[in-house]
Assembly symmetry: C2
Homo-oligomer: 307 residues x 2
C-alpha cells in the first residue's frame, strides 16, 4: 500500500533558490492529501504530475501566507476544470473569509462546495478517517494558532491465507474469527491454530507533519515512534536567537524532537532564505539524529522504509 | 534609455506547461513597473533576477485571480525584507479589502504603506508620470471591470549639441530657447539656426498592455501607432465561440486590433491551458499581422525596435 510524501515546497516565508513555500502531497493508498498550500502549489502539482481533481482533502496548518496563499489558485482552477465534488478543508475557520472576499471581488463563485472542518477549538483528535488511515490534529506552539497533522495507519486484523485455509477445509464463517486470533476445531477434533492460516497484519505506519513550531517537547508523546517525522528547521544554530524570537526551530531542535520521540526518520524543511546551501542544516541535525533527510521540492519520501 | 518588457507569466487562468499566470515587468529607464501579479509572480521575479525592492509601482488590470493572486506574496515578502518605502498600487479599490483580510487572519501588518490609486472611476487618464514617461489607463471590455495600461514616453525637447554650440560661442541663457526651436542671432548679426546646434529628440516610444478583453475596436484610437502592443489571445479561431462567451480574444482578434491601430509590433499572450503548443496561435495572428511575437515566460521584449 503506497504511503509517501511529495514535497511541493520547502521554503520558509520568502521563497528563494527555486524553493517554493510550504506544501506537500501525502499519498496514502492512492488517496492524495494536500498539506499546506503556499503560493505556487497548483503550479507544482501540475509540474510534478498530480491531477488536481484527485485532491479532496486540504489541510492548512496555519494562516501565515506562506502556508495558504496558494489555496485560492487551486480552488479557482478546480472550479474552472468543472469540479462538482465537495472539497474538505481542515483549517482555522477564518480561511472562509479569505475565500469569500476573493470570490466576491472577482464576481465569481466556486462550482463545488468547500466543507470546512474548523480546527479553532481542536486540541488533539481525529479529524479524518477512512478504513485504513486516520489523521490526527496536533496543536503546535507558534506565533499564531497552528496545527500539525499525524497521518496514522489503522491497525488491521490478521491477513487470511486462503491457500492454507483450503488445505484444512475451513468453513467461510470461521474466517473473521480466525483473523481475530481464535483457533478452529475441526469436526474430527483437530485444532487449527489461527497463526497457521493467518499472517501478521502489516505494521501500521505513520507520518507526522510538524509545520511552523518553536522547540516544544510537548510534541514528543504525541508523535512517539512515528516512522517519518517532518519537522520544520527554519534556522541553524548560529541563528538560534532569531528562531526563538519567531517561534521557529533550528535543525538541531528538529533533530532533538525526532530523537526524543524515537522517530525512525526525520525530514527537515521550511528553510530560511538565508540558506542557499542546506548542507549546514543537514549536518547540524545529523549530529543529533543521524537518520535525517532534507526536504527538497519535487522529491518523494516513502513512509516506513526508514531509509 | 532602456524600455523593455519581461514576461513573468503568459498563461490564462489555469497555469499549464510551465507557464505562470499573468505578470510582466516593464523596465523604463531602470524604473521597474509590475503589471499584473498572478500567482507565483514573486517566484518569477527572483528567478529572473529582479530585486523586489526595486518595484515601487504595481498595476492590477482586474480582480480575476490569475491577475492578482500573487500580490499578497510580494507584499508580505517586501515587508519581511524590511521595506519602508511606500508602494503605489493602481487597481480597483476592492483590492484593499483582499489585503486587509489576509493580513488580519495572519495577525500581521505591512511595515510600509500601500498607496492605492483607485481605478474604479477612471476612464482614460494619466495615473502615473515622471519626467520622461507617463502611464495612461485604458478601460477594457471584460466580464468584470478591467483596465489596460499604456506606457508612453513624453516628447522631449531637442537635444543640445554642446560642442557645436561652443564653436558658435552661444551664451548659456540661450540653451533652452534653442532647444525649443528658436534661432540665435549673435552680437555680430550672424544667425545660428536652432537645428545647427540641437538635434532631434528621440522619437517617443510606447507600450500598451491590453489585458483580458473581448475584441473591441474602441481600443484602436487609444493605442494608435503604439510601438509594442501586448494583446491577450486566449483562444484560437476554433474556439471563437468560447472567446466571445468569456469576453476574451482570439489570436486573430489581437492581430486585427494591432493592424487597425497600426502598431509596430504585436505580442500575444494569456494562453488557454488548451494549448500545449502555441504555434497555431502564432500562425493565426501572423496571417493578419505578420510582426507578431509570442509572449514566453522569462523572455525580454524591447519596445520600439520593432523587430
Amino acid at each position: 500500500m503506497t504511503f509517501s510524501v511529495t514535497v511541493l515546497g520547502s521554503s520558509a516565508s520568502i521563497p528563494a533558490y527555486g524553493r517554493f513555500p510550504s506544501s506537500q502531497v501525502v499519498n496514502h493508498n492512492e488517496h492524495l492529501f494536500l498539506v499546506d498550500c503556499g503560493e505556487g502549489t497548483q503550479i507544482r502539482l501540475s509540474q510534478y504530475g498530480f491531477r488536481r481533481g484527485r485532491i479532496h482533502h486540504i489541510f492548512i496548518s496555519h494562516l501565515h501566507g506562506d502556508h495558504f496563499f496558494g489555496l485560492m489558485g487551486i480552488l479557482t482552477t478546480m472550479s474552472l476544470l468543472g469540479r462538482k465534488k465537495p472539497l474538505h478543508l481542515y483549517s482555522q475557520s477564518q480561511i472562509m473569509e479569505v475565500i469569500r472576499v476573493q470570490l466576491e471581488v472577482a464576481q465569481s463563485r466556486l462550482l463545488f462546495e468547500v466543507i470546512l472542518h474548523p480546527l479553532d477549538e481542536v486540541r488533539q483528535e481525529v479529524v479524518y478517517e477512512n478504513e485504513v488511515l486516520e489523521v490526527v490534529v496536533i496543536p503546535l506552539k507558534h506565533r499564531v494558532p497552528c496545527w500539525g497533522f499525524l497521518f496514522r495507519e489503522k491497525r488491521l486484523s490478521r491477513r487470511f491465507l486462503a491457500e492454507k485455509a483450503e488445505q484444512h477445509r475451513i468453513p467461510f464463517r470461521m474466517i473473521s474469527r480466525l483473523k481475530a486470533g481464535e483457533d478452529y476445531v475441526t469436526p474430527s477434533g483437530e485444532v487449527i491454530k489461527s497463526s497457521e492460516v493467518t499472517a501478521d497484519p502489516p505494521v501500521p505506519r505513520s507520518y507526522a507533519y510538524i509545520s511552523d513550531s518553536a522547540y516544544d517537547e510537548d510534541l514528543v508523546p504525541r508523535i512517539k515512534g512515528v516512522d517519518l517525522l517532518y519537522h520544520e528547521a527554519t534556522f541553524d544554530e548560529a541563528n538560534r536567537k532569531r528562531a526563538e524570537q519567531t517561534f521557529h526551530s533550528t535543525a538541531k531542535d528538529a533533530a532533538r524532537i525526532a530523537s526524543l520521540a524515537e522517530a525512525k526518520q526525520l525530514l527537515i524543511g521550511h528553510y530560511s532564505a538565508k540558506f542557499k546551501s542546506l548542507d549546514g542544516l543537514l549536518t547540524e541535525a545529523q549530529e543529533v539524529f543521524p537518520n535525517t533527510l532534507l526536504a527538497m521540492d519535487g522529491k518523494v519520501y516513502e513512509v516506513g522504509t526508514g531509509q
